[in-house]
């Protein structure tokens, strides 16, 4: 068993994040950055995340991708997630279910009413008295108000609608969790993030908080900020939710898989949102 529990000093961790950038520009930036952070930490003013990482060292998974994958995300006519956004746009106005109603009937024009919604989920659902992820909320809404059977988590329709809503939050900032109702789940999510799981015995923090930028096999370990979900993952050849991505990690460390819409999963998603609060939402993105 590899011992991954030890944490390096602040500057050590920062240099680990930045050391993998090879250009001299980055080395110069790193020097400036470390000096800044060092002087700040002397004055005890560095903002830290619950996991102890400095907030201003946060990088989206986008920053860890290759040039071609970045280009794929940035160009709307190339980004395959846009196929799902178009599908979602049509579903938004489609009359469906036993009530022959559409999302648009209640919510109106998504370009206005759904602005910034995706960047503040998971959120509290008063009817079932627990936080729910955006895709879960879409499914609940479709069963409550459109009279559909509760569709499967991650069904094509749910994914397309989630992509459409994420598109409405493009370039918004992910908001901080401020609803006291969900605080117990948030705390639980934090504990889960730090807890070692599976036969391999790794916690989320072991890789994503303490070793981002290093490699796991051929893949670069990102910092795990959920800034672009649902993402079109090239490995999946499809769009997928944050929950699916997290389950991938659970499989990787050989842990029992949590339910896609279960409380464990939403706790973790909630904590990740809080950890990424203030970062830009990229709309449906592309990941390798």
């Amino acid at each position: 068993m590899i011992s991954l529990g030890l944490r390096g000093s602040l500057s050590c961790r920062l240099s680990r994040i930045l050391i993998h950038r090879d250009s001299s520009k980055w080395q110069a930036l790193m020097a400036v950055f470390l000096t800044c952070v060092f002087s700040c930490s002397q004055a005890q003013t560095v903002l830290t995340l619950p996991t102890g990482e400095p907030q201003d060292a946060r990088l989206s998974g986008f920053e860890f991708m290759g040039e071609s994958t970045r280009a794929l995300q940035l160009d709307a006519s190339q980004n395959p997630a846009m196929l799902f956004v178009r599908e979602g746009e049509q579903l938004w106005s489609a009359l469906i279910g036993s009530k022959r109603a559409a999302c648009r009937d209640c919510h109106g024009d998504a370009n206005e009413s759904m602005r910034g919604i995706a960047s503040r989920y998971p959120a509290w659902d008063a009817a079932i008295r627990r936080p729910v992820s955006l895709s879960h909320r879409i499914n609940l809404c479709r069963s409550r108000y459109l009279g559909l059977d509760q569709s499967q988590a991650e069904s094509p329709a749910t994914l397309a609608l989630e992509a459409y809503l994420a598109f409405q939050s493009k370039a918004d900032r992910i908001t901080s969790v401020d609803d006291p109702n969900v605080f117990p789940w948030l705390e639980n999510g934090h504990r889960l993030f730090e807890r070692r799981i599976g036969q391999i015995g790794l916690s989320c923090a072991d890789c994503h908080a303490h070793r981002p930028g290093s490699r796991l096999g051929a893949s670069v370990i990102p910092q795990a900020h959920p800034t672009a979900y649902p993402v079109y993952r090239l490995q999946w050849q499809s769009l997928g939710t944050l929950s699916r991505r997290i389950r991938g990690c659970f499989t990787g460390v050989r842990a029992d898989l949590p339910q896609p819409d279960g409380e464990l999963m939403v706790s973790l998603e909630l904590f990740l949102r809080q950890r990424a609060a203030g970062m830009l939402h990229e709309g449906p993105g592309v990941r390798p």
Binding site: A76, S77, Q78, P80, M82, L83, F84, R86, E87, Q90, P156, A157, A160, L234, Q237, S238
Partner: protein, 107 residues
């Protein structure tokens, strides 16, 4: 999911200009070599041919094989000589056929 396409042409095309046309389509491109989580064999479902015509005359075409990934994307160049209707045609397994038409205006 119904079939969705993304078609990208430049704005304000000048006569004689070399333009880039970019298209993608939502399609699973199932190889025929995989099995479902229940163990059943997934039958092959791929696009076999993509073609682009201007006023009925072919300007670009390609044959596709199972190794092409899902939601295939094509980018190709064309010397814009005259205005006309561009027809994009995807044909594949199980009688799959999808057509999109876009008018290209050349000044």
């Amino acid at each position: 999911m119904s079939i969705q396409t993304l078609i990208d042409l430049p704005q304000n095309i000048k006569r004689g200009a070399l333009i880039r046309i970019r298209v993608s389509i939502s399609h699973p491109m199932e190889t025929g070599y995989r099995r479902s989580s229940e163990g059943e064999r997934l039958s092959r479902n791929i696009i076999k041919r993509f073609s682009c015509m201007l006023n009925g005359a072919s300007i670009f075409s390609a044959d596709l094989y199972p190794a092409v990934s899902a939601n295939p994307y094509f980018s190709f160049q064309h010397r814009a000589a005259r205005s006309g209707e561009l027809t994009f045609l995807w044909e594949g397994d199980g009688g799959f056929k999808h057509v999109e038409r876009v008018f290209m205006s050349v000044q």
